[in-house]
């Protein structure tokens, strides 16, 4: 039943902020587990209510935590933590303890490891890869950060490869930074000019922090690079689907279009579009009712109609009705899954 919505192996749930991605990801994962699959759901920042519903707490930041097991199926949940993943990768790829320590103690790393553009997203992918490679799960469902911006995480592996390849890094590794080294005169003068300019504008300390970080990081480059390539391939593998969750109403359609266009451009496979939080029709028996009730139902129908007209044929638009209250326990998540499984794509 979940097969129509989930990828064979990996499902990446994407969408804008506040559309209910995390809850739907959890419900689908629970459904997959109750159908007898070994399933993992990885989420970025679930609400307290959802953490309670899944029965997980902070310990899930280090290792997946068992939510339920039933026959052959089981559900584990993991919380993503970019900084911890980054630290762990450094420990894994550093040739020795001293090399790892050199990075951890670098001021630039401490200030910015979690802030470099795309790093957060990249680390989510890294963690995903780790879990996939472990072979413990038949299905993995990844909830993503609400990057309305530009689906940063799709470019994250490329960003990482660019960073590792870039001339800036080779430049930093070049011994011209060391005053003691002798190079040919013209090069030293040019370098000195560039250095002085950078020094005046950026400040020497910052510059040296960055250079030191790059040097400390150099022994790890090859490991990072090959992993980044594998992560990129995994996202484009035949067993991977991107499941788009959209908000209701015509105002949200441009958002959905943006995500779908980006995914298509970058050669990723998309599944159906889940339109969440659709207000139900109050029905003819409800009388005139408050204008707002009627408006919201009409608005959400307009949104669905618009999406369907944009994606006729093979693409499917699956409406998911607004819940009276968000799920607070596994039973409620299970009911949500039943609704998803029964929803008729149309």
């Amino acid at each position: 039943m979940t097969g129509a919505l989930l990828g064979p192996h990996l499902t990446v749930v994407v969408g804008g902020g506040g559309v209910g991605k995390t809850t739907l990801a959890a419900a689908l994962a629970l459904g997959s587990a109750s159908e007898g699959r070994r399933t993992l759901v990885m989420t970025i920042d679930p609400s307290l209510r959802l953490k309670d519903a899944l029965g997980v707490s902070e310990e899930a930041r280090d290792e997946p935590v068992r939510v339920m097991a039933e026959g052959a199926g089981l559900l584990d949940a993991a919380l993503l933590d970019a900084r911890r993943t980054f630290d762990r990768l450094i420990r894994t790829y550093a040739p020795d303890l001293a090399a790892a320590e050199r990075i951890f103690s670098n001021r630039f790393y401490q200030d910015m490891a979690g802030r470099l553009s795309g790093i957060l997203e990249y680390m989510a992918m890294e963690r995903l890869f780790e879990m996939q490679a472990s072979g413990r799960y038949e299905r993995i469902i990844l909830d993503t950060p609400p990057t309305r911006q530009a689906l940063d995480f799709l470019q994250a592996p490329d960003h990482m490869m660019n960073l590792v390849d870039s001339r800036a890094i080779r430049f930093a590794l070049d011994p011209w930074w060391d005053d003691a080294r002798r190079k040919n005169l013209a090069f030293r003068i040019a370098a000195k000019g560039a250095m002085e300019l950078a020094d005046r504008v950026i400040g020497r300390r910052f510059l040296m922090d960055v250079v030191e970080f790059i040097r400390a990081f150099a022994p790890l480059f090859d490991g990072f690079r090959s992993r980044a390539e594998e992560v990129r391939d995994l996202l484009k593998a035949p067993g991977t689907r991107f499941l788009l969750v959209a908000g209701p109403g015509p105002d949200r359609v441009p958002d959905a279009m943006f995500f779908l266009r980006k995914l298509k451009e970058t050669g990723h496979r998309t599944g159906p579009i889940l339109v969440n939080q659709v207000h139900p029709d109050p029905g003819p028996g409800a009388g005139p009712g408050p204008a707002l009730v009627r408006y919201l139902a009409d608005r959400d129908q307009r949104g669905l109609a618009l999406l369907r007209s944009l994606f006729p044929g093979e693409k499917v638009v699956v409406p998911v009705a607004l819940e009276p209250v968000p799920p607070t326990d596994l039973q409620a998540l299970g009911r949500l899954y039943q609704k998803l499984a029964a929803a008729r794509p149309g």
Partner: protein, 287 residues
């Protein structure tokens, strides 16, 4: 004397509007812009999201980076940090060939992407220059990125000043950080919904602003409240459940936040000038 939150906001020169995605942040930034322009100020609304939506709220042409008039003393501009930084390089390096050499180099791109707080500082620096340099506007309202990023934005100049201490860049960032820390010139308006995650993020953001920059929001706007239905119009159970959820989450918010708060109802209007016009008097009535 200042009486309402709007009076206090009207006293600021730079107002940053931030909140979780899906809370109506852009529409509320537009509403604030209209209200402030209505007080006779020349107001520039800066949108940071590369995907423009501010123009839809106000019914103008998209900005595409240009300053576009939205009528009645209000202008909008969509601003991308990369473009601001590039313009700054061209200004500081007067030889176009050299400036181009710099902005086309790989090292430049890496630096712009990687330097902590550089992009955010560039955007706020742009607003600062409009207010204190060119003086082409009386007030700049920044429709900032969603919560997590919004807080990062306000912390950025301080962070950059620290990292790039000793250089010109660090000095510029330090000047901007001091400007932002001046509560009499800079204000913050937060937008949220009375639902669990938005309330949680709002409380965390209030705490981050307090601990990080000693900033206190001028106003927290709780948007999209489901109506209280009573009598024959009580409607289906779904509506009552959503209203009760709103009330419970609003109570959780007000238990932890004792500052100015505006409650705005869910209105039967699509995003656009009509919605902005309908919300304006309601926001103006905030305590």
């Amino acid at each position: 004397m200042d009486r309402t939150a709007l009076d206090r906001l009207a006293g600021r020169k730079l107002v940053v509007v931030t909140g979780k995605g899906g809370t109506g942040k852009t529409t509320l930034a537009a509403v604030l812009g209209r209200l402030m322009a209505g007080r006779g100020k020349r107001v520039l609304l800066l949108e940071v999201d590369p995907r423009e939506s501010l123009h839809q709220a106000l019914g103008t042409e998209p900005s595409g980076g240009a300053v576009v008039p939205a009528g009645g003393g209000l202008w909008i501009q969509n601003l991308q940090p990369a473009a601001v930084i590039e313009a700054l390089v061209h200004e500081k390096v007067p030889i176009p060939f050299l400036a181009r050499k710099i902005t086309e180099s790989v090292g430049y791109r890496q630096f712009v992407d990687g330097a902590p707080g550089l992009k955010e500082t560039a955007l706020l620096g742009h607003a600062y220059r409009i207010l204190e340099g060119k003086r082409s506007s009386d007030m700049v309202i920044v429709d900032a990125p969603a919560t997590g990023h919004g807080a990062t934005m306000l912390a950025a100049p301080g962070l950059l000043a620290q990292a790039a201490k000793g250089g010109q860049l660090g000095a510029m960032a330090a000047e901007l950080a001091a400007y932002l820390a001046d509560g009499s010139r800079c204000g913050v308006m937060l937008t949220t919904l009375a639902e669990e995650m938005p309330v949680q993020e709002t409380l965390e953001l209030i705490e981050r602003l307090r601990a990080g920059q000693d900033l206190r929001p001028d106003l927290v706007v709780v948007n999209g409240m489901y109506p209280e239905l009573c009598g024959a119009d009580r409607g289906p159970g779904l509506w009552q459940a959503r209203r009760l959820l709103n009330e419970a989450e609003l109570a959780r918010l007000t238990a932890a936040w004792d500052g100015p708060l505006a409650e705005l109802p869910l209105l039967p209007l699509d995003r656009g000038p009509a919605l902005v016009a309908a919300l304006a008097p309601l926001l103006a009535a905030a305590p």
